[in-house]
C-alpha cells in the first residue's frame, strides 16, 4: 500500500491551549484508519485539520504528496461525514446527494441522475431520492451523508463520530456495513471515535490520542495485546496493574511480581529499553483464571479471596484479593456449563501465565 496522507510535526494552538502536539502520522491508501481517544484529546481537531477546516500552527499536511497548506476544504480530495450528518433540510435526498456535483466540471451533467441513483443504491437507499431530507430517520440520514460524500469519489473519507447518534443495535449494524462499504469502494476511511470497541472492530490501524498527542499507533491486536503505555492499556479494555521488580535483563527477562512471585519474559515480549528495577506489570482480566476443583494451572498459581462478584450472564467478573497485591485483581470468567459462581469471601486459586504479562 502506498502512503496517501502524511502529517509531519503538526501543531495546533488555540491561544495558549495546545490542541495538537507534534503529530506525525502516515495513512496508507485504502486503509481503514481510526483516531481513538477520550473527548478533548484532539482527534476531531486532527480530522478537521486533514479536511482543511482548521489551519495548522506548525508542521505540514500532505495528501497524495501535495502540500495542503492554504488549500481550502472545497479544493481538497477529502470529503466528510459530519457528526450531525449536516443533511441540508431544505433539499430532497437526491438534491443532497447531488450537491457536490455542481462544482465538478469534470462530470458530465447528463450523468448526474445515474450517479445519484448509484450512490443511493450503494448505501441501501435506492428509491429514496424524492424524499424530503427532514423526514429521514437517524440511520437514513447517515446513509445520505455517506452517499453525498462518496458520490464525489474522494481519496479520503473522513468520518467524525458517525455512529454516536445511533442506538446500540443500529450502531452495531452500521459498523459492519461501513466495513463492507469501505472494502467495496476501496477509499481510505479515517474514523474519529471515542468508542474503543468500535475502533477495534472496524479499523486496520488505530491511533490512540491523549491530550493532543498520539499515544500509540498500531493494528487492533497489537494495540490490545502489547499496549506501550499504561494510559493506552487503561483506555483500551481493562487491565490489572501489579508492582514488580526486574532482576536481570538478558536473553530473557527475570522479575518478581508482588503476590505472584518469580516470572520470566521471553525475548519476543520484551519491551524496548527494558532495565532492571521497579516496574508496573499489567495483566488483562481474561488472561487470569480462577481454578475450580480438579483444575490445575498450566504455568503458575496463587491463592486469593473473592472480594466482589459482578455477574454479566455470559461472564462473571471477580475482584480477588491476593496477599501483597495492593489492589484486588479483576478476573473475567466465562460461565461455562457446570461452573459455579463463587460468593464473596470464598477463597480460591488463581492461575496466571507469564506470556500474558505486559511491562510498563
Amino acid at each position: 500500500m502506498t502512503d496517501l496522507i502524511q502529517l509531519r510535526g503538526v501543531n495546533k494552538y488555540y491561544g495558549d491551549y495546545h490542541a495538537l502536539r507534534d503529530i506525525d502520522l502516515t495513512i496508507r491508501a485504502g486503509e481503514f484508519f481510526s483516531l481513538l481517544g477520550p473527548s478533548g484529546c484532539g482527534k476531531t481537531t486532527l480530522l478537521r485539520v486533514i479536511a482543511g477546516f482548521e489551519g495548522v500552527s506548525g508542521g505540514t499536511v500532505m495528501i497524495s504528496d501535495k502540500n495542503m497548506k492554504d488549500v481550502p476544504p472545497n479544493k481538497r480530495p477529502t470529503n466528510m461525514v459530519f457528526q450531525s450528518y449536516a443533511i441540508f433540510p431544505h433539499l430532497s435526498v437526491a438534491q443532497n446527494v447531488a450537491f457536490g456535483l455542481r462544482t465538478r466540471k469534470d462530470i458530465d451533467k447528463a450523468n448526474h441522475k445515474a450517479l445519484v441513483e448509484e450512490a443511493l443504491n450503494m448505501v441501501g437507499l435506492s428509491g429514496f431520492g424524492g424524499r424530503a431530507a427532514h423526514a429521514l430517520s437517524g440511520g437514513q440520514r447517515q446513509r445520505v451523508a455517506l452517499a453525498r460524500a462518496l458520490i464525489l469519489k474522494p481519496k479520503v473519507l473522513l468520518l467524525d463520530e458517525p455512529l454516536s447518534a445511533l442506538d446500540k443495535k443500529m450502531r452495531e449494524h452500521m459498523q459492519v456495513e461501513l466495513i463492507r462499504l469501505q472494502r467495496h469502494v476501496g477509499i481510505t476511511f479515517i474514523l474519529v471515535t471515542h468508542d474503543q470497541e468500535e475502533a477495534l472492530v472496524m479499523s486496520d490501524r488505530i491511533a490512540v490520542m491523549f491530550a493532543g498527542e498520539i499515544g500509540q499507533m498500531d493494528d487492533p491486536e497489537t494495540l490490545y495485546r502489547r499496549p506501550k503505555s499504561r494510559r493506552v492499556a487503561e483506555f483500551i479494555g481493562k487491565m490489572n496493574f501489579l508492582p514488580g521488580q526486574v532482576q536481570t535483563v538478558g536473553d530473557t527477562l527475570d522479575l518478581t511480581i508482588a503476590g505472584f512471585g518469580a516470572a520470566q519474559i521471553t525475548p519476543d515480549q520484551m519491551p524496548e529499553g527494558a532495565r532492571t528495577g521497579d516496574v508496573s506489570v499489567g495483566i488483562r482480566p481474561e488472561t487470569l483464571a480462577i481454578l475450580f476443583d480438579g483444575e490445575t494451572a498450566r504455568r503458575h498459581e496463587c491463592p486469593g479471596t473473592v472480594d466482589e462478584v459482578v455477574y454479566y450472564g455470559d461472564m462473571t467478573y471477580y475482584d480477588v484479593r491476593v496477599k501483597d497485591v495492593p489492589q484486588p485483581l479483576t478476573i473475567a470468567m466465562k460461565n461455562l456449563i457446570g461452573r459455579p459462581v463463587l460468593d464473596v469471601g470464598e477463597t480460591c486459586r488463581i492461575a496466571w501465565d507469564d506470556r500474558a504479562l505486559v511491562l510498563f
Binding site: N79, F82, Y85, P89, F99, R102
Partner: protein
C-alpha cells in the same frame, strides 16, 4: 384555572383600546364619546381625499421600506457573527449594538438632532429618520435573526464547503435559504416599527411629516378625530396582517433549521 381567567382578562385589557377603534371609526358623530349615534363610512371616505395624509403615508412607507432593508442587513451581520466563534469583547460589542432597545427614545432623538442640526448643520428629511429608525430597529432584527442563525448547525455550511462550494456559494446555497424566513420576518417587524414610530420621527422630521407625526397634528383638532379613528382602524388592521405574516415566516424558519420554538420575538 384562575390563572387562565386572569390571563384572559389581561388580554382583554391589552386589546381594549384597539377594540374601540372600529367602534368610533364607524360612529356617526364628531365627538369621540358614548353613547354611539349611528353607522357611517363617511370618515373612511374622508381619508381618500386627504392629500396631505397621502403624502405623509407615502413618506412613511419609503422610510419603513428603507429601514426594513437596512436594519435587516445590519441584523444579519450581527446575527451571523453571533453564531460564529467567540472573540474577546464580543459580548460588549453586541451589547452596545443592542443598546437602543432599552435606551429612552427621546435620548436617541435629541442626540441625533443635536449632531445633525447643530454640529453638522444638515437639513432634516426622510433620510435622517431612516438613519434613526435603522438604529432602533437593528436590535429587533438581531433578536429575530439570532433565532434563525443560531439554530443553524455550523456543520451545514462546512458540509457545503467540503462538497466543493466556495465560502460565498456555500452561504448562498445553504445558509441563505435556511434563514430566509427569518430575514422576511425581520423585515416585516422593522417595517412595522418604523411605520408606527413617533417619538424620534417628531424630532427628526423635515418639512414632510411622517404618518404618525401627521396624526399627532390631527389629534389637536377635535373635528378631525373620527378621521383619525378610521385611519387607526386601517393601520391596526395592516399591522396585524404584517405581524401575522412575520410570525408565520419566523416559525417556518425555525421549523426549517430544525430549531425549537421558544416563542416571541425577543
Amino acid at each position: 384555572m384562575s390563572l387562565r381567567i386572569y390571563a384572559i382578562a389581561y388580554l382583554i385589557f391589552l386589546y381594549a383600546p384597539i377594540l374601540l377603534l372600529p367602534v368610533f371609526a364607524f360612529n356617526d358623530a364628531t365627538i369621540i364619546a358614548f353613547p354611539l349615534s349611528g353607522m357611517t363610512t363617511e370618515w373612511f371616505a374622508a381619508l381618500q381625499t386627504n392629500k396631505s395624509l397621502h403624502a405623509a403615508l407615502g413618506n412613511s412607507l419609503i422610510i419603513a421600506g428603507c429601514t426594513a432593508v437596512f436594519s435587516t442587513l445590519l441584523g444579519m451581520c450581527a446575527a451571523r457573527a453571533a453564531a460564529m466563534s467567540h472573540f474577546p469583547g464580543k459580548g460588549g460589542i453586541t451589547g452596545f449594538v443592542m443598546l437602543p432597545l432599552v435606551l429612552p427614545e427621546i435620548i436617541v432623538a435629541v442626540s441625533l438632532l443635536v449632531i445633525l442640526r447643530q454640529v453638522l448643520g444638515l437639513d432634516l428629511g426622510n433620510w435622517t429618520i431612516i438613519m434613526a429608525h435603522v438604529l432602533i430597529c437593528t436590535p429587533f432584527s438581531i433578536a429575530i435573526l439570532n433565532g434563525a442563525f443560531g439554530n443553524l448547525d455550523p456543520a451545514m455550511e462546512e458540509a457545503a464547503l467540503d462538497l466543493g462550494e466556495t465560502r460565498w456559494s456555500a452561504f448562498r446555497l445553504v445558509t441563505l435559504p435556511l434563514v430566509m424566513p427569518g430575514i422576511i420576518s425581520s423585515m416585516l417587524i422593522a417595517f412595522t416599527i418604523s411605520l408606527d414610530e413617533f417619538i424620534i420621527a417628531f424630532f427628526l422630521t423635515g418639512s414632510n411629516p411622517t404618518l404618525p407625526v401627521y396624526i399627532w397634528g390631527l389629534l389637536r383638532f377635535p373635528a378631525q378625530l373620527p378621521v383619525v379613528m378610521a385611519l387607526g382602524t386601517i393601520l391596526v388592521g395592516l399591522s396585524i396582517i404584517l405581524l401575522t405574516i412575520a410570525e408565520v415566516f419566523r416559525r417556518r424558519g425555525l421549523a426549517r433549521s430544525g430549531g425549537k420554538d421558544t416563542g416571541g420575538f425577543l
